[in-house]
């Protein structure tokens, strides 16, 4: 299913320069990111790999505007966002960024369809009918067209993660950030979810940045950026 033209492929979607981030307080304060710079273009898949604690996820949350850097700049679609307030960063997140987390993070009281519609409802750009149609289309695309009305609790782990992928793509964001999207899945489901992510994102022209420990997945990405001790190597 083609949800959007990919004519925008290659455009710069995300750029960060000289990101520093400390976590913890007092003696436990750790310098997690030590001046990281990175950029991602639409239609490309980037894997950030590295040992636990090297700062991969911290970088991802900074890129997703879920967290703020102590130093450095983040641009989304050419617009400097790191110096904006929470309100503007939240709005940018809703419009330009989609997330897929490791532990699927579906809202379990809602059906698959409702989960996918949730970001669209917040953005409020489509009519209810258009939102419903798009959510159905996305769920079809991830192979869950027959389970649209199942609650999160009635779906398997792999299915939940596929719903999360559909939800992340709901607002056609420029950037899709995935934190260990296959980390909680078996090999078969890992492959399915990764294929979905990359196929749909490429079709829609998204820049995908994923953090993974899975070497096989990393190899299949367009670019792999290894990290160690808070820096790309």
């Amino acid at each position: 299913m083609s949800l959007a033209p990919s004519s925008i492929a290659g455009e710069l979607a995300l750029r960060c320069t000289g990101l520093h981030r400390h976590l913890g307080q007092g003696e436990g304060r750790v310098h997690v990111l030590k001046g990281v710079s990175f950029e991602a273009r639409r239609g490309q898949v980037y894997a950030i790999v590295g040992p636990s604690g090297c700062g991969k996820s911290t970088l991802l949350y900074l890129l997703g505007l879920l967290d703020q850097p102590d130093q450095g700049q983040i641009e989304i679609n050419g617009k400097l966002m790191s110096n904006h307030d929470d309100f503007a960063r939240t709005a940018a997140r809703g419009e330009h960024i989609g997330f897929v987390f490791q532990f699927h993070f579906l809202m379990l009281e809602f059906t698959a369809l409702e989960n996918v519609m949730m970001p669209m409802r917040k953005l409020g750009r489509l009519s209810l009918a258009a939102m419903t149609a798009r959510a159905h289309g996305l769920l079809e695309a991830v192979g869950l067209g027959s389970k649209t009305h199942r609650l999160g609790t009635q779906l398997s782990g792999g299915e939940q993660q596929r719903v999360a992928v559909a939800r992340a793509l709901a607002n056609q964001p420029a950037i899709l950030l995935a934190d260990e999207p296959t980390g909680n899945l078996d090999a078969k489901n890992s492959g399915v979810v990764f294929d979905l992510l990359t196929r749909l994102a490429k079709e829609q022209g998204q820049a995908i940045v994923l953090v993974t420990h899975n070497a096989e997945i990393a190899q299949r990405c367009d670019f792999t950026r290894p990290m160690r001790d808070g820096l790309f190597i």
């Binding site: 809703g94 579906l106 970001p119």
Partner: protein, 413 residues
């Protein structure tokens, strides 16, 4: 339905037991508030109706005697000013007809009745009692009292048509073993007069029913040797709650002391007020429990839904959306709780109104008295809204302050 309301509803229904607890407390709080207000104000209003039905809203009594004092002004000026100081009274209302005419000009006045009062001894065939006679013109007096409705035996027309007829209180009639048609002797200032019982009334106010005898005003004047004037004027008002203001104006304009019913009955009114406040405090505890239950429920939901909050924030939901989602949950519980509580309150109020409860002292009733006042419902709901929403603000704001990055990283506190 807005996205935030939809999410709030789902969050809430996912915690059925906690929601049920919060809802139950809210229902109980609102319901009990209504019932206690209905019962306490029921007795107070009935008492007010009783005493207004006996004594009217305002009583105009003794004439004010102004006293003037001259005082030299300071300095070289030879001018002076007069200063009111203290008040003296001349007993009774001398120009009763003129004053009554003037009182009727007040917009809020419904009726005026001139009354001649005096102490007498009443002697029946069996015994003698002390009593008070009230000489009235019945046409005027039924406009300022509920005397017509208070007749329990005999007919008011018999009193109206017979100059020697008297209206006796039920308690006094029982004590003297007098029935309608019996005659008895009234003695005052060495002269006696035989009259008969035209009718027996009962106000429910025992002190009145035990001592007050109504006579035609002419008979009373003759017995008390008071050919003119009145002891007081009894005034009824369309809006008795305005009696203090009207009484103050009357006093100023008419030069007679005017006492509103609120001042006359301030002791009992203070008792009722204290009772109402004390029950309100007791019942507020239930509302407080409701708000604590709501706080507890929401705090639990915040703890359990931190990941959902992170998801929502990652999807572009703002802090104020998160606050709204949690306040909506409180709002849903409040809306259902207020409606169910109002129904419970109405149901229990109705049931309480059926409970037999004979009271005869400051008023007479044979069952629990309740009032149906929409203000009780509004007050109960407003109290619940304020307390529950205030209690809900804390977890709602806490939820909004959660940093999505901390949640997904697992360091949210």
């Amino acid at each position: 339905m807005s996205p935030n309301l939809r999410i709030a509803f789902r969050f809430l229904t996912a915690k059925k037991r906690a929601m049920f607890m919060s809802l139950s407390c809210t229902v109980l709080g609102v319901g009990l508030f209504i019932v206690t207000q209905a019962t306490t104000s029921g007795f107070e209003r009935f008492f007010t109706k009783t005493i207004l039905g006996i004594n009217g809203a305002v009583r105009i009594e003794d004439k004010i005697q102004d006293t003037m004092r001259s005082m030299a002004a300071a300095g070289a000026s030879d001018s002076y000013f007069a200063q009111r100081e203290g008040v003296k009274y001349i007993e009774g209302v001398e120009e009763a007809l003129l004053i009554a005419e003037a009182v009727r000009e007040f917009a809020n006045v419904r009726g005026v009745s001139a009354v001649v009062r005096g102490n007498v001894q009443i002697t029946s065939a069996l015994k003698t009692e002390d009593a008070q006679i009230f000489g009235i013109k019945i046409e005027d007096h039924v406009r300022v009292s509920d005397l017509a409705e208070q007749i329990t035996r005999g007919k008011l027309d018999d009193f109206r048509d017979s100059p020697s007829g008297a209206l006796l209180g039920r308690v006094l009639a029982d004590r003297l073993q007098l029935v309608v048609g019996d005659s008895f002797v009234l003695t005052s200032r060495g002269q006696s007069r035989r009259v008969h019982v035209a009718a027996i009334y009962e106000t429910g106010y025992r002190e009145v029913d035990k001592s007050n005898i109504y006579l035609q005003i002419g008979e009373a004047r003759s017995l008390l040797r008071r050919p003119a004037g009145a002891t007081f004027l009894q005034v009824s008002l369309f809006d008795p709650s305005r009696a203090p203001q009207d009484a103050a104006k009357m006093e100023q304009v008419l030069g007679h002391g005017a006492k509103p019913w609120q001042e006359r009955e301030k002791t009992w009114l203070a008792v009722f007020r204290a009772l109402r406040v004390s029950t309100m405090i007791t019942v507020s505890v239930f509302t407080l429990i409701a708000s604590l239950a709501m706080f507890n429920t929401l705090a639990m939901i915040v703890l359990e839904k931190t990941k959902d909050i992170a998801i929502l924030r990652s999807m572009g939901y703002e802090r104020r959306d998160i606050t709204q989602i949690f306040l909506w949950q409180a709002g849903i519980v409040l809306a259902i709780g207020a409606m169910a509580g109002a129904l419970l309150g109405a149901g229990v109020t109705w049931l309480v109104g059926q409970v037999p409860l004979p009271i005869n002292g400051i008023f007479k009733t044979d069952r629990f008295i309740v009032t149906w006042d929409p203000n009780h419902y509004l007050a109960a709901i407003a109290t619940a809204v304020v307390m529950v929403m205030v209690a809900s603000l804390i977890p709602a704001r806490r939820a909004a302050r959660l940093e999505p990055g901390d949640i997904v990283r697992g360091t949210a506190q």
